[in-house]
């Protein structure tokens, strides 16, 4: 499992790699944390559950990032990891994500690396290789 940032002129792109759907979301939360505040270690963590549903994995990733950006903006909780997560198909063939996410509270004096406005759908396409899943997500900053 890994994530890596790729070049984009105006915004920030991240490529997520994992052998499971759940792993993609775990990597995404770590990448978002790095975009927000860098690699510094977080001491105090808070937990919050999130539930999302979408018709494709790509759209679920979009919704996941949107949800985390919304929480950051309103509660000033930034994501820093995933405690538990499951991605399953529900009866309508939609994908259902249930996760217990880890956050930390940012104070007015904490310097951010970047502020994320939201995820985009630009080039958002899941690729399945023999070994794993790969997906590129572009975030507007």
């Amino acid at each position: 499992m890994s994530y890596e940032f790729f070049d984009h002129t105006a915004d920030i792109g991240v490529e997520l790699v994992s052998d499971t759907f759940e792993g993609l979301f775990k990597e995404f939360s770590l990448a978002l944390k790095e975009i927000f505040i860098g690699k510094k270690k977080i001491q105090t963590k808070l937990c919050r559950r999130i539930h999302l549903e979408s018709f494709s994995l790509e759209n679920l990733l979009f919704d996941f990032a949107s949800e985390l950006v919304y929480i950051a903006d309103t509660d000033h909780f930034l994501p820093c990891g995933v405690k538990t997560i499951s991605v399953i198909k529900n009866g309508n063939e939609d994908l259902l994500l249930q996760a217990e996410m880890e956050f930390f509270k940012i104070g007015p004096d904490d310097k951010l690396k970047h502020y994320i406005k939201g995820p985009t759908l630009e080039g958002l396409l899941l690729k399945k290789t023999r070994k794993n899943y790969r997906v590129r997500v572009l975030l507007d900053v």
Binding site: H8, T9, A10, Y115, G118, L121, D140, V141
Partner: protein, 469 residues
Amino acid sequence: MSDLGLKAISENLWELEKKGDMKVPGRVYANKSILENLDHNVLLQLENVSSLPKIILYSVAMPDAHWGYGFPIGGVAAFPMGDGIISPGGIGFDINCGIRLLKTGIPSKDMSVKIQNLTDTIFQNVPLGLGQGAIYRPDKSEIKKVLLRGARFIAESGMGEENDVARCESGGCFQGADPEEISKRAVERGSSQLGSLGAGNHFIEIDSIGEIHDQQFASSAGLFPGEIVVLIHSGSRGLGHQITTEWIQVLEKERHKKNIFLKDRQLSYTEINSEKGQRYLRAMRAAGNFAFANRQLMTHRVRTIFKKLFKDSCNVELVFDCSHNIAMEEVWRGRKVLVHRKGATRANPTCKINYGGKLFPAPVIVPGSMGTGFTLFSPKEKCEDTFFSLPHGSGRLMSRKQAGKKFREKEVKKELMKKGIYVKNNTCEGVSEEAPDVYKGLEDIEETVTKAGLASKILNAKPMGNIKG
């Protein structure tokens, strides 16, 4: 033909010929230097925009065009109001992101306050980013008024002066906004950020006017060489971002249901006259009004700071406020069209603004990097060729990742200080990723638009202090 396969129309105008799914060709405004450095991704995005249904004549890339999402940043496209489409990807997350220019009446040679003190005071008093609060906390009824009336509501609430509204594009208020179209989540994000700068490329810059090219305009507007002026660049903050996110989700579901294939799903669209199209337009206009109100509040705060520091020796007046991320209903060659501008400024010489009792075409503010200042342009009739649009900046050349590797915050600030430009930043990357060399030269933008006959220069200004969000 250029190396990128573009056909020359004139010295500074190039055509991406129609191919594949393209309904119309693409047009690129670029001088030699801009063309040499043009990212091929801009052309891919231009091609995607040209493939949208009902697009009129051609999709346009301004000289500052660079790789964005959906439309290129610096992209323009028009669609018929009757049966055309609207795409949030042609507007962007930061609905009605825009820039305003304030004059102060203070000659830089007589500045009684050091630029560092002035910059620091603004930095300390204008909320910048996440968790730093806002100038104004509206209650439920006030936020509705903000969404409905934009800068007008703020000015009428005692936080504006006589010309503030008249010198905003669309009078600081987009008609046809509906606060009921704004979700609870968007209101929640926006209510705590009304009157705050935001991050990324948002900034407040203190400049000194340099050369004046249009003396008639400058005299009427009371602008003079050496005058201290202020730029404020910001948008609709989390409220606009939330609306865009929600509508992308809605239109994506619809696209999926109808099984429509799009080369770039960020260009999901709906018909303007559909129920969803009309609802998105009403929501977009309300977010646009939030952005006007946001910039008005920061103007009020900057004005208060100047009054406190300079007493009666200053008179902070709005020169103009331009939007550069919006779709607007306009008349073009006798047709009613919806012009999408994503990182492009409306530039219609028939839209007049009163300066000192005389009417002038609404000016266009084009900032360069934090090391170069800005140019004020006057649009010409030839702008009809760009659906009445001009650039919104000088445009990025380098990716954020490359810039982060190449430039260090401290060194960039030190180099700028040597040139007399003092920088205060909120986010660490706000300086390295926005370093002057990351951007195209403002002189190339000037050359392209003036030689293409789109606009003439009114004046240039040089930066002295810069606050990065």
